[in-house]
Point group: C2
Chain length 338, copies 2
DNA sequence: TATAATATTGGAAGCCCTTCCATTTCCTTT
DNA sequence: AAAGGAAATGGAAGGGCTTCCAATATTATA
């Protein structure tokens, strides 16, 4: 059962069948419908492998994403899936949970030529890898990560973190804890550093000295958040507010704070990052990233680069501080010290 | 750059290269390493389309899943992804959000021959579709859905719902609300019905009359849960406990109950279904489904059917009632009526 | 050492499409 | 009616792999 059978059944040549299959305009409507009928009658379906061999196009996009079950990635994934579908691309999922996996996929998989393009989310991509992509002629778009050789969608993590920090300062907080995420070498590389910088800048611009004791680095999980909170709450002069680099960690912090009998926001204010669905549910003040939109635009850019190569560019996306119930003015007078 | 180049570089025939590529045992170790070297030197990567054309195998599995961003499906997806990767299969995601999409994918996509097998989650699959799969010789495994012509992994929704209901009764509850999910024609078909049956059986076996006012049908979302709760709480004789067919709905119910100034579990007890991650976080009593395990076993079965066809079977998976903080003994004496 | 059996290898044929060019058909235009 | 151009069509030539059988190399056996 192949294209020849269809051609015979419809009484046309295989070229015509192929043109119908590919929606070419250069087919007389009458012929087209004759072919269409034959296809339906025979329940014919083109062989995707043969197609890809013949044309060099798979109509498949690869998505390389770490820990795809985490809310942030799910949201990105949602935008990605929707957009890929709209454009008629299939989506294959490459989940990364270890550095070895990352290296493996970024080196080997893209070259399997199974995908026409690759969207890489939140993973650091080094120069040699980027060069390799270009050499292999594989379009790659980065989301929430940056490389000068590849089109990258980023948010301004520095200014976002600074904004969050300054917001807390404006509420009267001076002891502001900062919970960062581990870098796990290849994961979220720029992100961690940039948000740290933003935090420091926020302090500096308000003449608040940087206190390393107030900074924790921990896993990007709820458990990580709890751990960090436990540590911060042990400080002789404990923070009155904590800024975490992800909502998930912020939720862990919230749990721990409450578990220790402290009130949010009265005793401790909390600000997260991402604005995952749960943030709204649990009334968490946070920096909103346009996650779904990042996925959407990433895919659109990728498809456009597949169709017509472009020089790499950096595209900045906006964040927004969303004030909810986990922040409030610091109860002690501004400037008061213990 | 193809297999011929590699063969020349290694000084062997293409057949040998192919055998090395496919891990055939019938290659002298020395030859194998020579070929391997050539592959590495040339940065050669086989063309997946050509491969699939030649062999008829894609090493790709399709996952057809509704609303994949919902926690239940994410958990299943996690098991699926992990297992597919372990077995060296790529995974392509077909997300279904409307009936048209469902019909489209179940009819057209599987036939694209892009996938070697299909795992269908929580979607009703009618006989004509099942027959079609078999005719096309496409292995299909169902998870959380049932069709006699296809291998199906299910939980005993009837007895699970009955168990939940009887648990509430054992706590002294008599007015037990039941929040079901809409059937949306093709979605979660059996599930809704079965859990309703279980609820009724639970009541019946304790001689509690069935009261249709206590039953709501609503979307499988938090908003749906809130809406249902709002309705149930308006009843002149309001329920003292509510059993929802999903945790997500149960969380919505919880929100609404609290928003109305009522306490959980003191005023209203709540039981959910699924045991999503959030259920633990929010201390929700629920029926735990082995979601991740369902995905894992589904894929393993699918792969085994790809390798060697089997007659369809129904595989039942166990559920477990997990008692947490949203349930407690009914405060009014058993049998008391307003 | 000769022979049989086994392990390894080479490469032609085939898988099913797309593409492209040559050909045919259909309109216009003169 | 003839000629020219445009639109539609047919099909040969790939494209890169797997498979299978024939051919060769190796080892065991007599």
């Amino acid at each position: 059962m192949n294209i020849y059978d269809v051609a015979k059944q419809a009484g046309v040549g295989i070229g015509t069948v192929s043109r119908v299959l590919n929606g070419s305009l250069k087919v007389k409507p009458e012929t087209r419908s004759r072919v269409q009928d034959a296809i339906n009658q025979l329940d014919y379906v083109p062989h995707s492998g043969a197609r890809s061999l013949g044309s060099g196009r798979n109509h498949v996009l690869g998505l390389v994403v770490p820990f795809f079950t985490r809310p942030f990635f799910i949201e990105v994934l949602r935008g990605v899936e929707m957009t890929a579908t709209i454009h008629g691309y299939d989506l294959v999922l490459y989940n990364i949970e270890t550095n070895e996996q990352r290296d493996h996929y970024l080196r080997q998989l893209p070259m399997r030529r199974r995908v026409d393009g690759l969207l890489v989310v939140s993973l650091f991509c080094d120069e040699s890898e980027a060069i390799r992509f270009r050499k292999m002629n594989l379009p790659v778009v980065l989301v929430d990560s940056y490389n000068p050789l590849l089109t990258s969608f980023v948010v301004d993590n520095i200014s976002a973190a600074q904004q969050a920090t300054e917001f807390l300062i404006s509420l009267g907080h001076r002891q502001i804890g900062f919970v960062n995420g581990v870098k796990a070498s290849s994961f979220n590389f720029n992100k961690s550093d940039d948000r740290m910088i933003g935090y420091c800048q926020g302090l500096a611009s308000n003449d608040i000295p940087y206190n390393p004791e107030l900074v924790c680095v921990t896993e990007w999980t709820r458990a990580g958040g709890r751990k960090a909170a436990r540590q911060l709450l042990l400080l002789p002069q404990r923070p009155t507010a904590i800024f975490a680099v992800s909502d998930v960690q912020a939720l862990g912090i919230m749990e721990e704070v409450k578990a220790q009998g402290l009130a949010v926001p009265e005793d401790i204010c909390i600000v997260g990052f991402d604005n995952i669905e749960l943030a709204e549910l649990l009334n968490l003040t946070t920096i909103a990233q346009p996650m779904c939109e990042m996925g959407k635009q990433g895919i659109e850019q990728l498809i456009s680069e597949i169709e017509k190569p472009e020089p790499p560019q950096m595209l900045m996306m906006d964040v927004e501080l969303i004030v909810r119930g986990t922040t409030a003015a610091h109860s002690a007078p501004v400037g008061a010290r213990a």
